[in-house]
Amino acid sequence: METVTLTVKQVPDLYLECENVNPDAFAGKTAEQIAKMGAYQGKEISTLGEFFTIAGNAGATAADTKIVINGDCTKMKYIGAKMTAGEVVVNSACDMYTGSWMKGGKLTVNGDVHSFCALAMAGGEFTINGNAGNYLGAAYRGDWRGMSGGVLRVKGNAGSDVASFMTGGTMIIDGDVDIHLGTHMEGGKIILKGNANRRVGGQLVKGEIYVFGKINVMMPGYKPSGEVDLEVDGTKATFIDYTGDLGERHPKRKGATVYGHLFMKK
């Protein structure tokens, strides 16, 4: 695997749209060619070379390419977005859309990410060693297709509207979340190690949410249906199984109605 190292040399005045900073776009290019790739700041297009010092050439394919980014990326959007393979490590906080529409590969952010990250993530591994903002792993504004695959881990807390319209994949949050976790969920698994504020699993059709901590206010559409012993992300514990959201439509399979589940650790 070849490594390309980007070091921020100029922090953008507005925000830099790094749609070209991912292994797929870099694959087969030399450091010099990468420096000439476009990046929008507002309506003006400039080059990656204007904002980063670039060292090392990319591999022949995305899978053979690793990108390491050093310096202040708090005003950089779209890092690792749409990546399908390879690896990206960002040693900074990042702005919106980081890892959004990601299909494969490995993305690690050693810092916080802003809102709208991992939107509609479909595959790969995305680890955030910090906090995440709102709409993590959700659908894009207006869309009904949220995170559908892959594994997303957050070491810190996440904001509100996390995992809206999630349809698949696994999301693990070590810290707390604010309101609206897993709204409109239609598949997938959320493991919340900390606490949630209100409205967890509102209008959830299918899928599973595991909560280790407390939910401030429970949705009225969930009904307890017994206790189960489970091993969740390496933790063995007894959970109360709630079915819901009973206010939402639910599909039928072999004549039986399929509900979503909210498991609360005892």
Binding site: Y40, A139, Y140, R141, G142, D143, W144
Partner: protein, 569 residues
């Protein structure tokens, strides 16, 4: 104004019967002329195809429901909305593009006119604001009348003159172009929780049937002698087995005679026929009825149709057929927008994905193409996608590639996931016809121009006609054999002249032109009864004052008014 001479191009012009012959086209002061001076700028059209600018007969491109689609679908414009170099603004949106993108994209494809197919009269101001902001192309809008309380009350009593006087008043208030009908009676019935799925289902309270509404409106339309005919989105859209209702509706035109001074020969334009040509009893045994429907269309000369081709994209459906959108939302569970427009109409919006892996969508794709390929008279069958309902209008180049190349469409057909099932339920696999460039010019230029009553000035390249000219990078002697090459040529006009000005060059927009809004001013004898009824309805029912209803001149500062005199009718 400058002079141009377009030299050595292969000209396709149904107006003059020119089928690809090399002919020079001269342009002066916005018109096509016999000859120009030696100082005229020469445009080299060697190995290129020259046609009149294309006319869109039916699309939803301006107004409140289009905008509802835009604001409730931000996801439609998230990608690919960066500023491009040149004089154009940011172009956002795929199925519901911004007004700017709408103008640019039509122009790049060689279009110079688009008809907004459904204007809710109460919101006509919004429609005109958007039309005014759409660059380059001329536009007009059809007010929807098929569920209007005035119309239903007058027609219930067979009052054709009052109906005509009301239409004349309404077209003047809204700066409208003609008579549009959407699910006649059904949209009003839906306000009562019902629908009209056949043309004999009575509308609640009004006690009139869709058949009576359509016959009455055709009669009133011809009484006025409008440039366009009644333009109908039929009842029972999109349901298996609806083809019988479709044919029954088309039969209403039998015996109605066109009466106008514009050379128009049809009395009914039946739109997006693909959605109305379904056999079967449910989505499982759903089959094409294109043959049954087109056999009738081919023999009945006083009707025109457009196809409504499914493009196999993710799109946004939107129609004044309120009950249909509610039905669709029940099928796909995607977000549903709905509005009731007081005494006039309604509208619904639902996103839809025409997935090629789903055999219903693949069959719909076949049916749309079959309708065009089974049309015996290309002057009466026009290509549309009912934008954005069956797909975005920006896919026209791809639709052309399917129609013009059996190889290209068979490649698509044979690679559907359930190809055998799709082929078994449709006619397309056995159709060899390939639409020629001349037929394309009939279906997209001369035909729609005649249908809209614009054939005197538009849709052809005869001296005296408007200099709306599209030049494509297509050598008819070496017509491209692969789909992407056909698409590229039709999607990026080498040149587009609008009113004698070059607005597109090499696929790029270089001039915003001087777009005009067309509307029809029909004069009728003074009608005290209708004016009394209008006043009363505004006092009793409308949420706006009568004086706040009309579209002021400032909303359509560049008007092209077509006048009709029905005072002696």
């Amino acid at each position: 104004m400058s002079e141009y001479i377009i030299k050595n191009g292969h000209v396709f012009d149904p107006v003059q019967g020119i089928k690809g012959d090399k002919k020079d086209i001269a342009v002066k002061d916005g018109k096509i002329v016999e000859k120009v001076s030696s100082s005229a700028k020469v445009i080299d059209a060697k190995d290129k195809t020259v046609m009149a600018g294309a006319l869109e007969v039916h699309a939803h491109v301006a107004g409140p429901k289009v905008n509802a689609g835009r604001w409730y679908r931000p996801e439609d414009k998230h990608f690919d909305s960066h500023k491009k170099p040149g004089i154009t603004r940011i172009e956002g949106g795929k199925s519901i593009p911004t007004v700017f993108k709408t103008g640019y994209e039509y122009a790049r494809m060689g279009f110079t006119f688009a008809m907004e197919a459904a204007m809710p009269p109460l919101y006509a101001r919004h429609v005109h604001e958007e039309i005014h902001d759409t660059p380059i192309i001329d536009e007009a809008a059809l007010p929807v009348l098929g569920n209007n309380w005035f119309i239903m009350e007058y027609l219930k009593n067979n009052e054709v003159e009052n109906t005509a006087a009301y239409i004349s008043w309404l077209m003047r208030q809204t700066k409208g172009y003609g008579v549009k009908v959407v699910n006649p009676g059904g949209t009003e019935a839906w306000a009562w929780g019902l629908n009209c799925l056949t043309i004999h289902d009575p509308v609640p309270y009004f006690d009139i049937t869709p058949a009576e509404i359509m016959t009455g409106l055709m009669t009133a339309n011809e009484y006025l002698g409008l440039p366009h005919s009644m333009h109908v989105h039929q009842n029972d859209l999109g349901n298996p087995g609806n083809y019988k209702t479709t044919i029954e509706t088309l039969q209403l035109a039998e015996g109605v005679k066109p009466k106008n001074t514009f050379g128009r020969e049809q009395v009914m334009h039946s739109t997006h026929l693909q959605f109305h040509s379904y056999k079967g009893t449910n989505w499982g045994d759903f089959e094409s009825a294109a043959k049954e429907v087109m056999d009738y269309v081919n023999k009945q000369k006083n009707i025109t149709i457009d196809t409504g081709n499914v493009t196999l994209d993710e799109t946004t459906t939107m129609t004044a057929d309120g009950p249909f959108e509610h039905h669709l939302h029940g099928l796909n569970h995607l977000k549903w927008f709905n509005v009731d427009v007081e005494l006039e109409t309604a509208a619904g919006v639902v996103p839809y994905i025409y997935d090629p892996n789903i055999s219903v969508c693949a069959k719909q794709w076949c049916i749309g193409l079959e309708i065009a390929l089974m049309a015996k008279d290309p002057m009466r069958c026009f290509i549309t996608t009912d934008h954005p309902n069956a797909g975005p209008f920006t896919r026209y180049p791809r639709v052309y590639s399917w129609l013009m190349s059996k190889k290209v469409r068979d490649e698509r057909l044979n690679t559907f996931k359930n190809a055998d099932k799709v082929i078994g339920a449709t006619y397309l696999a056995n159709i060899d016809r390939e639409i020629t460039l001349y037929e394309l010019a009939q279906m997209t230029r001369a035909g729609p121009a005649k249908c809209l009553g614009l054939m005197k000035d538009y849709g052809g390249l005869k001296a005296g006609m408007n200099a709306d000219i599209a030049i494509y990078d297509i050598n008819p002697d070496k017509f491209p054999s692969d789909g992407p090459a056909i698409e590229k040529a039709f999607g990026n006009a080498a040149y587009l002249f609008k009113d004698g000005r070059i607005c597109v060059e090499g696929g790029k927009v270089v001039d915003m032109g001087q777009k005009k809004t067309f509307w029809v001013d029909a004069k009728v004898p003074e009608n005290k009864q209708v004016m009394h009824d209008v006043r009363e309805k505004f006092l009793r029912y409308y949420s706006v004052n009568e004086n706040n209803y009309p579209v002021p001149e400032s909303y359509a500062p560049h008007q092209h008014i077509i006048t009709v005199d029905a005072t002696k009718a």
